[in-house]
């Protein structure tokens, strides 16, 4: 049962990203990406990570992609992207991607053939445990993250909040 759900979600996810590549309209690309990220949230749920799944749907499919859609509406690019003249670059990019696919596939095989720890510890899906880990082992990283978000907020306002006259 879980395998069927996984196959459906994986197909939706990869198909969404492929449709985003093939689509010439940026708004359609963003909406296909929302589909892909939402199904990825479902896959996170299958991996015993319910909190990561919720954050994925809320932050990625929700906040970040809405930000992208706002930006697309701001640019108001009514004319679609004209078909590209530079075929060479596309072919080269695809060739590089195939090489990278082979390389990453080999790396993934090696990672899986190494000895594995005890699979599925009982506390791996416990949100309280993750919270304790976040506020003990990773406390500094957590606090620095809050500073990073503040810096990003102020930086974005300083960059794009300026009006034309200034």
């Amino acid at each position: 049962m879980a395998l069927i759900i996984f196959v459906i979600l994986a197909a939706l996810c990869a198909g969404g990203v492929t449709a985003m590549i093939l689509s010439r309209n940026q708004a359609h690309s963003a909406l296909f990406l929302v589909l892909a990220f939402s199904s990825l949230g479902g896959i996170f749920g299958l991996l015993d990570a319910p909190f990561a799944a919720a954050v994925q749907v809320l932050v990625y499919a929700g906040a970040i992609m809405v930000l992208f859609l706002f930006a697309i509406m701001m640019f108001n690019l009514s004319q679609p992207e004209p078909p590209s003249r530079k075929r060479v670059r596309t072919v080269l990019g695809l060739a590089m991607a195939i090489v990278l696919l082979a390389e990453l596939g080999l790396a993934a095989r090696k990672a899986l053939s190494s000895p594995q720890g005890p699979a599925g510890l009982p506390d791996a899906r416990d949100i309280g445990h993750i919270g304790r880990l976040l506020f003990s082992d990773h406390l500094y990283a957590f606090e620095i993250t809050s500073l990073l978000i503040l810096a990003a907020l102020v930086g974005a306002m300083a960059l794009a909040g300026r009006t034309e006259g200034e």
């Binding site: 985003m20 892909a36 930006a71 594995q116 993750i130 960059l159």
Partner: protein
């Protein structure tokens, strides 16, 4: 029971699709979306290995990655807005001042 190899293969496929999108697409916004796809592939690999090894640290890292991705999206979009205001275009074919 789904083998963790399946999750890792999906992560690899997503990352490569993100690379393809970044190299094939010709405007800054879609290329930026491709970067988000690659970040998500990394998240998926973290969670898959976190489950395979039975350690919850991977989930903590995923939270950090999502937070940093949100901050990065905000600043990146602000930069793209600035580029659009100055050049009236975000197509990378038209932005070649830095070409040697």
């Amino acid at each position: 029971m789904i083998p963790s190899a399946a999750f890792l293969i999906l992560a690899v496929v997503l990352f490569v699709l993100g690379i393809v999108a970044f190299l094939v697409k010709r405007d800054l916004l879609t290329q930026f979306m491709a970067v988000e796809v690659m970040l998500n592939a990394g998240n998926l690999a973290f969670l898959a290995l976190s489950k395979a090894l039975g350690r919850p640290d991977g989930q903590v890292v995923v939270l950090f990655v999502i937070t940093v991705a949100a901050a990065e999206a905000v600043v990146g979009l602000a930069v793209i807005v600035l580029v659009f205001r100055q050049r009236k275009t975000i197509r990378t074919d038209d932005l070649k001042e830095l070409r040697g």
